[in-house]
């Protein structure tokens, strides 16, 4: 192989193994490998936070969209059924949190970046105050949690998306600790003034997030 052909080959693939290369060719190979290193670094553009979660969740959406009406009717009937049965059968907090997340898909699609004071304005209704947030708060709305007005938040962090529900103490839902289905896992913690539910698609991140959140969120003593 002549020198020119060798150079062409090196430019096409600097990683290839050369047999007895000349000093000049070796130098070129080193230089091209260094260039590749720089190129590889330049290719590593940051991946949008929460992308993996959005991808994981979106497979539910086409059906959801198509049958949106049917689904909401079904869900509403199911919830009213639960509501009616509440005296006899206590509704599980975790199950409700999971059903709620599936019902309120738009919470995952929000690209908003909510400032802390705006979040705290809502939290104040429960006497709560968030000193700092893990990641960005993408979503914050009051919602009906089995007849109890609660706060639905979505945190967008480096570890992915976390859904948080803050419920005042007087809710009727039973259950605590951990819960999960095939897509999500959740954790509930009972604080003195409120119950906090955290749900994410990755079980191992839940505990650290909850621990941080419990430290960041404070409730008035009154």
């Amino acid at each position: 192989m002549d020198e020119l052909e060798l150079r062409r080959r090196l430019f096409a693939d600097p990683k290839q193994v050369l047999v007895n290369p000349s000093e000049q060719t070796e130098k070129l190979q080193r230089e091209l490998q260094q260039l590749d290193g720089e190129l590889y670094k330049a290719l590593q553009v940051p991946v949008p936070p929460g992308l993996a979660d959005r991808l994981l969740f979106q497979k539910k959406q086409p059906n959801y969209r198509r049958f949106a009406l049917a689904a909401s009717i079904a869900l509403v009937s199911l919830m009213s059924f639960w509501g009616l049965q509440q005296q006899q059968y206590s509704v599980n907090l975790g199950e409700h949190a999971l059903a709620h997340i599936r019902h309120e898909v738009r919470a995952f699609q929000s690209n908003e970046s909510l400032p802390l004071p705006a979040v705290n304005e809502l939290l104040a209704e429960f006497g709560g105050h968030l000193q700092e947030a893990s990641g960005t708060v993408r979503y914050a709305r009051f919602c009906d949690f089995e007849g109890t007005r609660s706060l639905h938040l979505v945190f967008d962090t480096e570890e992915g998306l976390f859904t948080v529900f803050v419920l005042p103490k007087h809710h009727e839902l039973q259950g605590s600790g951990e819960f999960a289905d095939q897509d999500f896992a959740g954790l509930t913690t009972q604080l003195a003034k409120a119950d906090v539910v955290v749900v994410a698609s990755h079980l191992q991140q839940l505990q650290p997030f909850m621990q941080k959140l419990v430290k960041q969120i404070q409730f008035a003593h009154s």
Partner: protein
């Protein structure tokens, strides 16, 4: 179970697929759309993926097809709209400021040179794999890889005060 296969495909490949999409269309929002479309199609036809080892190239092929579709749509829009409104193939301003020189040079490389180089560097594809992905023959792929690096190297050495690749 298909859900677990789908979740695995996301955790293994979504970051590099996003980067590949970004370097195809040079726009972060479009890249994200492309990745979402790709995984949605992947989910729908997950049963057709029999060989787990082929998952990466399968996803890349879907993404390329989605990008071609997007391009066709855009061509159609260009015919509908006045010219000055359509420039999203242009460089994304958020990525122009503060980017390294090598990033800008990569951006300035024409797609036919940029794409095989990205496939080689990002996914560690061999010449043969790139040829089959891009439906080109191996000689063409090697020539494009050669010209891609040659252009980048020439442009870097032409600007000795800002690049780190001289001497």
């Amino acid at each position: 179970m298909s859900h677990h296969r789908y979740a695995a495909l996301i955790s293994l490949y979504h970051a590099d697929l996003y980067r590949y999409a970004f370097w195809l269309c040079r726009n972060s929002a479009t890249a994200e759309d492309l990745v979402q479309e790709t995984y949605l199609r992947a989910w729908k036809s997950l049963d057709s993926l029999l060989d787990a080892n082929a998952a990466k190239s399968w996803l890349i092929t879907i993404l390329r097809r989605e990008n071609a579709r997007r391009f066709e749509r855009k061509q159609f829009e260009i015919e509908q709209l006045s010219e000055e409104l359509v420039d999203d193939e242009g460089l994304n301003p958020e990525h122009l400021a503060g980017e390294s020189q090598i990033h800008k040079l990569m951006n300035a490389l024409s797609l036919e040179y940029r794409e095989p180089l990205v496939l080689q560097l990002l996914f560690g594809m061999t010449g043969e794999e790139i040829a089959s992905t891009l439906e080109l023959n191996l000689n063409t792929v090697n020539t494009r890889l050669f010209r891609a690096r040659q252009q980048l190297r020439d442009r870097l050495t032409a600007q000795p005060f800002t690049g780190a690749h001289h001497g």
